[in-house]
Amino acid sequence: MIAGFASRIYKKYDGNSLELLAGTVNEALEMAKIEPQMVDGLITTFLPGVFDGNIYMHFFTNQLRQYLGLRAKHIDLLDFGGASALAMIYRAEKSIAGGEASTVLCIIGGKASPVRARGITVDSIDRAYDSVSITPFDWLFRVYNDLNPVTDYALVAARHKSLYGTSDETRAKIAVQQRYNARNNNRAIFRNSLSVEDVLASPVISDPLHLLEIVYPVDGFHVFVVTSRQTQLRDIEIKAYGEAHWAEMPPELPEITVTPASESSKIAGFELSKVDAFELYDSFTITVMLQLEDIGLAQKGKAASFIEGHDLRYHGDVPINTGGGSLNVGQPAYMSGGVILEEALLQLNEMAGGHQVDKPKNVLLNGIGGWNRSHSVTLVLGEKN
């Protein structure tokens, strides 16, 4: 199972990405008490621009292993954004169960600062570099000066307001309660108290989304060590799992306010009343709200009354993003998956001092990936029976 994990996160790391990664790998292996020579698997993901500004790295996994001196019997390169982190754990477990590898490093991260410095996002990286495509239809799609992914999520938030009467205050309450959870999380970069008024007073970036509803991309890596060896950590297993990858350009979806989390969570099929904490991808407040509905905590369109009627803080009745999420920890390399996964492991191992959920048995994670929300991974981690 997961024998070790580590993260190193900076607003701006002054150094090379591979160097930052190497330090994080060392920390994770130390926790796992596993020698580097025992590692025989690697699963990771790559986004353009986040490895020291490289748009592409030829044979990427080979480059990582060259730097770290790692041979492998099993390699996977996933490409569904931050949601990849959750799938990495599942693929690693399967590889180990299948006898292909015995100790797999799952790696996610990079440096957002070089991309930020160019005034773009990773989903708009084609605006800064030639010969990068974001859709097969860029000549039609890129004509309109959008600001992906913010503008696409803003379109969903606007439609949710129109269809269901959801207010800006509802979304702001998610940000406020996550900030509350972050106040006692020493991994969080934003820890000052936050009110609904503060959120709604922050500048509107793309109506109706305000700045304080949007994640801040940072530099950092998360490394998870999945192994068949003995672990000093709690004996955790995957209780349920589901993946869903949709095909449509957002205008081609039947309804943009529904995400593939509606499908991945059904495939996972875990009883929500048995979940002690929810770690939900939080690139934006609206992302959390959509997953809340799509995984079944609330009916589609009813997130507002759910949020009114429940306490989402780590000691509340429905703890969500118990460490503050990437909205408060920062979003390493434009991917929130490592942040929510690390928080789940901190919770299950009773290592979440200051924001610890009381004796959690099961944590449900959901990751959304892609500027157009086309990927979802649902992962439930819990104590082995």
């Binding site: 000549w139 309109y144 600001l147 803003a154 969903v156 606007a158 970036i205 081609e252 943009i256």
Partner: protein, 119 residues
């Protein structure tokens, strides 16, 4: 049809200020973003149709821009049943559900579909 022929046809239609879209002759699916196969049934039996240019705002966001006019970025649902991204011009406060009509605008020397309010 080859994809490059479809794209060339789109450009021709844009240049005469019309909005093209794709129709699958096999399964009747309609779509805007051009492929040489139907994204529902993968048939290559497609035709390029012409939209009436009338639709409604499916969703809209006003993008704040530094030192520039804000942009009303939208998804428009056309009467023929397909949707596309576009921008609404000449309207301060477009709303979801608002009726719109095609208004071609030049971008980098070529005409592309934008929309304006249909009174």
């Amino acid at each position: 049809m080859k994809l490059q022929d479809i794209e060339e046809e789109y450009r021709k239609r844009f240049s005469v200020e019309t909005l093209p879209y794709m129709k699958c002759r096999k399964c009747s699916h309609v779509f805007y973003y051009p492929r040489n196969v139907c994204p529902k049934c993968l048939s290559e039996n497609l035709e390029v149709s012409e939209s009436s240019g009338i639709g409604r705002v499916y969703s809209i966001t006003k993008i704040a821009r530094k030192d520039m006019e804000p942009v009303n970025y939208a998804i428009i649902e056309m009467d023929e049943g397909f949707r596309l991204y576009s921008v609404i011009v000449g309207c301060n406060d477009p709303r979801i559900g608002m009726k719109v009509k095609l208004k071609m605008q030049e971008v980098n020397g070529s005409k592309f579909p934008f929309f304006e309010q249909q009174i």
